[in-house]
């Protein structure tokens, strides 16, 4: 297990290098940079712009040179200062990553908690009305655009007043809240974006779970278990579920990227201050150090996500060895 983890993390290094290099190359190749707008400001002297240009190494159009100026300090742990927010990028990213993890993590939990029972029910009541209803729900989740779903949720929140219509916490009262109130407040703000992101992910899992379960229920060992006189509940939870769930874990590894992409749109619509929103703003401002550091974080999250999926698979399925 340990060697597997180490090997996988080491394998992520070339991936990070390739992705950051491509990102840098695209940033260098795109017209204009952070200083383009500043240069147009008559109250800022050209000398100052020139100095800034040298300071941030924006004066060269050589991709390799520019990449090296980012890469070498980054290897030593210095990811630089954000150009627009004049703060070390890590101080900006840290909280954002936590927020994104909170959103995507709870969405994942949401989709698993609902997908497994729904998928099992659909398989057990195959081709009956319950199966059809669940099938429709999963088609709904599969087809609804996250932008549209988020907007519907905000409309719902605004019309009923049951939930806040965006943001991560109360703007006014946050400062005077006790830790417990803060927790409740954040959770309350989390509900709607979590449902949006979770429903979309859930749809895939339900369909997968249903077809795996149907496959599993036709196996000989299920008949044996029933013949032994076990209760149907025990057959389903002890004998079928464990075997049917493996492909779901694999699917989870693949869907981390979709989840992060979905998070970008959900964060944008709900004004949830996560990594997605940060990258989007940084890209519009051409804040290169911030974009680069965020890209590193994104790739890391993806790699760790699929790593967790593989490790989980090894834990729940003794047939799989990770060496």
């Amino acid at each position: 297990m340990k060697t597997f983890l180490i090997r996988r993390l080491l394998a992520a290094i070339p991936l990070i290098i390739v992705v950051t290099f491509v990102t840098k190359a695209l940033l260098v190749a795109s017209p204009g940079n952070y200083l383009t707008n500043i240069r147009l400001n008559p109250s800022i002297s050209p000398d100052y712009v020139k100095r800034m240009e040298q300071l941030y190494h924006l004066d060269s159009n050589n991709v390799f040179e520019r990449y090296w100026y980012w890469f070498w300090p980054a290897v030593q742990g210095d990811f630089g200062y954000s150009l627009t927010k004049s703060a070390p990028v890590w101080s900006l990213i840290g909280q954002r990553v936590l927020n994104t993890l909170l959103l995507t993590g709870s969405a994942l939990v949401f989709s698993w908690v609902f997908a497994i029972p729904l998928g099992m029910l659909a398989a057990v009541y195959r081709n009956r009305w319950l199966d059809k209803v669940i099938g429709f729900i999963s088609f709904f989740g599969l087809s609804i655009p996250s932008v549209f779903f988020s907007l519907l949720m905000i409309l719902f929140a605004a019309k009923t007043g049951l939930f806040p219509a965006g943001g991560i916490h109360d703007q006014v009262m946050w400062e005077v809240m006790t830790p417990w109130q803060k927790l409740v407040d954040t959770g309350w703000h989390l509900v709607l974006p979590m449902i949006v992101l979770g429903t979309i992910g859930m749809a895939q899992y339900v369909r997968q779970m249903r077809s795996e379960m149907i496959e599993t229920l036709s196996q000989d060992y299920i008949r044996t278990a029933r013949a032994k006189g076990l209760s149907e509940w025990r057959v389903l939870t002890r004998h079928a579920l464990g075997n049917a769930i493996n492909p779901l874990v694999t699917l989870f590894g693949f869907s981390v990227s979709t989840l992060l992409a979905g998070a970008l749109l959900t964060e944008y619509v709900f004004g949830w201050p996560g990594l997605g929103l940060l990258v989007f703003d940084a890209l519009s401002d051409k804040d290169e150090p911030l974009v680069m550091a965020s890209v590193v974080m994104l790739v890391l999250m993806l790699v760790i996500g699929s790593l967790i999926a593989d490790a989980l698979l090894a834990i729940i399925d003794p047939r799989i060895r990770l060496e």
Binding site: V19, L27, S30, L142, S143, F148, S257, L260, L302
Partner: protein
């Protein structure tokens, strides 16, 4: 000689053609039986598809939507950019089409003239003395269908100065109904064009990597893995940044299609490679090689056609990726720019909480995105069942 060889080649290929991989053997047997009855495998698939109700609902919905998109200029009462700034955010008039006149007598459907009270608040009065009957084949804004047929006759509409907002108006008083039809041209066509491009790339790369193996395979598959590992939407955003804004709407359209296809081909390439790996060991492929055909010919004529049913199913199920990609980009403001209409940029109006709350009809384009994506999923699911050899009866 070459003719004889061709015939021979076909005789060798046809029977084993469908038996490409073990799973398709059943299909092959069935197909052979069907051929005896005079039905080709594609006819069989079509017969199975026709029995699948949800798939047919999807197919009919798509035919309707794409048909409406082509005829957008004719069906829409107004042009996508004809604005009435004094009628900002007018509410949908579906419920304001009257069938009874003031005396309560049944009459031809009509609407009343609109008098702006305070356009800032979208508050309007109706002039009951000015009745505008809804007429068919009225003259209005000029348009072109498929860049060729120019006209100014619309399916329905009301005479000026009356105005008909079936689904309401947006901020500058443009008709949302008309813009949805014009937006369909962009949002729906991106799906088709994108999938065609990425399928072609995916088939070529997958075919080459699987057939030649070795270093070619290694290099191509590492590229595919990097593309699959990237969080696609972020990468698409970075690519859009690269080309900047200041582009014409056609350029942006082409740009978006190319970027989405550039990201989208990887999945297809990977699976096709896997299929090609097993297909190239089949007797007919070996026979074709023994006959001295060029590698290119073997890949394109003998191996890739056997991946076709898989390719069609994946392609159908991937169309939503392109439609949603355009929606996401346009919604984020880096896609299709107003006044051009796309379903994504029409939803941008709803990003403003006050507008969303007071004028919820700005969300209507979202319903159409939802329906289109659902229809593609229905059709793709049906196709997958129809091409699955295990379910062939």
């Amino acid at each position: 000689m070459s003719d004889a060889l061709k015939k021979n080649d076909q005789r060798v290929v046809l029977p084993s053609n469908e038996g490409a991989n073990s799973g398709a053997l059943a299909l092959a047997d069935d197909a052979r039986a069907a051929t005896r009855r005079g039905r080709s495998p594609s006819q069989l698939i079509w017969l199975k598809l026709r029995r699948n109700r949800t798939a047919m609902i999807g197919l009919y919905t798509l035919v309707t939507m794409y048909g409406a998109a082509v005829l957008a200029g004719f069906i829409a009462p107004y042009s996508y950019d004809s604005a009435r700034h004094d009628l900002s955010f007018h509410q949908p008039m579906l419920t304001q089409i009257h069938l009874l006149d003031e005396q309560g007598r049944l009459s031809w459907p009509f609407v009343y003239g609109i008098i702006p009270v305070d356009p800032q608040l979208a508050s309007y009065r109706y002039d009951t003395s000015a009745k505008y009957p809804i007429r068919f084949l009225v003259r209005g804004d000029s348009y072109r269908i498929l860049w060729i047929i120019g006209s100014n006759v619309h399916l329905f509409g009301v005479d000026e100065p009356g105005h008909l907002y079936l689904f309401g108006a947006d901020q500058i008083g443009q008709d949302i109904f008309s813009r949805i039809l014009y937006g369909a041209q962009i949002s729906l066509s991106i799906g088709i064009i994108g999938i065609v491009i990425s399928t072609i790339i995916g088939m070529i790369v997958g075919g080459v990597a699987g057939y030649f193996g070795g270093a070619t395979d290694f290099a191509l598959m590492r590229t595919v893995e990097v593309l699959l590992a990237l969080p696609s939407l972020y990468f698409i955003l970075i690519l859009r940044q690269l080309f900047g804004t200041g582009m014409s709407s056609t350029q942006i359209y082409v740009n978006i299609v190319v970027i989405l296809a550039f990201i989208g081909w990887a999945t297809e390439a990977r699976v096709i490679r896997g299929m090609v790996l097993s297909l190239k060991e089949q007797e007919y492929a070996i026979a074709a090689r023994a006959m001295g055909f060029s590698n290119w010919r073997i890949i394109v004529r003998h191996i890739l056609p056997n991946t076709m049913s898989f390719v069609i199913v994946t392609a159908t199920l991937s169309v939503p990726f392109y439609i949603l990609g355009e929606v996401a980009l346009s919604f984020l403001g880096v896609g299709i720019q107003p006044p051009e209409a796309s379903w994504g940029n029409m939803l941008t109006a709803a990003q403003n909480n006050r507008q969303l709350n007071d004028f919820p009809w700005v969300l209507i384009p979202g319903v159409f995105i939802f329906i289109a994506v659902m229809a593609w999923n229905f059709l793709g699911d049906g196709l997958r069942d129809a091409t699955d050899p295990r379910t062939l009866s």
